[in-house]
Symmetry: C2
Subunit: 245 residues, 2 copies
Amino acid sequence: MNSSLRLVTAEPGLSRYASLAQALRARVVAGEWPPGSALPAESQLASEHGVALGTMRRALELLVEQGYIERIHGKGTFVRQGLTGATMLRFFRFDSGTGEVPVSRILQRSRVSAPAAVSRTLGIGAGEPVLRLHRLRLMGGQPRLFEELWLPLDLFAPLAEDDLTEWDDLLYPMFARRVQVHVHRALDDIGFAQLSATQARHLGLPAGHPCAQVQRSAFDRTGRCVEVRTTRGDAHAFHYTVTIT
Amino acid sequence: MNSSLRLVTAEPGLSRYASLAQALRARVVAGEWPPGSALPAESQLASEHGVALGTMRRALELLVEQGYIERIHGKGTFVRQGLTGATMLRFFRFDSGTGEVPVSRILQRSRVSAPAAVSRTLGIGAGEPVLRLHRLRLMGGQPRLFEELWLPLDLFAPLAEDDLTEWDDLLYPMFARRVQVHVHRALDDIGFAQLSATQARHLGLPAGHPCAQVQRSAFDRTGRCVEVRTTRGDAHAFHYTVTIT
DNA sequence: AAGTGGTCTAGACCACTCT
DNA sequence: GAGTGGTCTAGACCACTTG
């Protein structure tokens, strides 16, 4: 129980609380405190680093802003779990707007070597093995979204040959549970296109039908890209709201 | 020079800094410090209200988050000007992607009584008079965006019959300068649709061509809706990026 | 040099959660 | 009641901007 001081060497041009935040973030990312677990109390962290309480609070506030931790009054400070999921629905409005989670059906799963564009986004070597999925999402029995996913095999190998009935409707909680991949941030690029014959068939729409197209890159806490996905759905069901300030 | 104390009665269930922020926001909204002007120094505000410096700083931080003021190290605290403009371009990518401001051409201006949907969004009585505009925006000589705008006449009367050559390419700075309407927040709802024959003609595209459609409501500092606008452009030029955390 | 906001300290006290 | 985070104080000192 040696309570040795952890002094943070002041980075040039960085305030002390910013340096502290950097150091703490590194320990979170390294897994010293796993997702969902509690950090030491702010008072303990402060004395451990030889700074005033207010300074440590500023550092922790930064990590909250950056999405690494969350604080609960009276309980403690916790490492955030990954994103919960169902987020694609934020872009589409189908008639049954009851907030229900779409049912997911895996149409195809194969081990392939990554196409150039995919390996570049995933940040892996050209032609490295990836898991490719075709996935249909249904609401009220109707097929609504068609997805293509690419997952780097080194992280997702256990999911390459299991029973497909073990796949959940929501992927991110499943990724966390079964392969310890926690999606921390996602970047969605929205565009417009027309459905290919194959895509259209799966969605029960005519080929060439206008579709909204969401290209997602998802990242874990270390900043590594762990998923590339393209989602397509009827353009007429698309809507999204942005607030500008 | 009476330095009387301005005590803020603590609202039940509100922290002192939150109450202070509320009180200061009311004075900003009321125009006690006009847009672009400086607030008193934080030290003066603190002693004026009989609170510690740190408490006043927390209050001012809140107003920064909410977009009412901005602080510049070494200079002071200033009431924010309205949004600058050119923001529609965030949704489209045309070949000449040089960040140039699109040239604006007013095609039509008329005084009409507000349609039901418009008067509802503007929060004015049914059939109240509004200024309706059709506006084309061009980049590199090519027509790219077609806009319909509705402005409540009580605020924009001076713009109802002036020389149209006095209209700028960017509306919001002009609104601030000529009718003292400062747009503080805007809400954009994105969807996909097809161009009507008239819309298509203005954009040099075939009728029924797919288009991205942005429906904007713009608000001033008091929270009043001061503009309703629909912007349409070629769906293939549309793109938008969202980060999820 | 004077005035501004930004950082940091070392406390006290309050509000919430759990047992 | 013990432990947590949230608020508030009354200072000191630093960094930036302007005359």
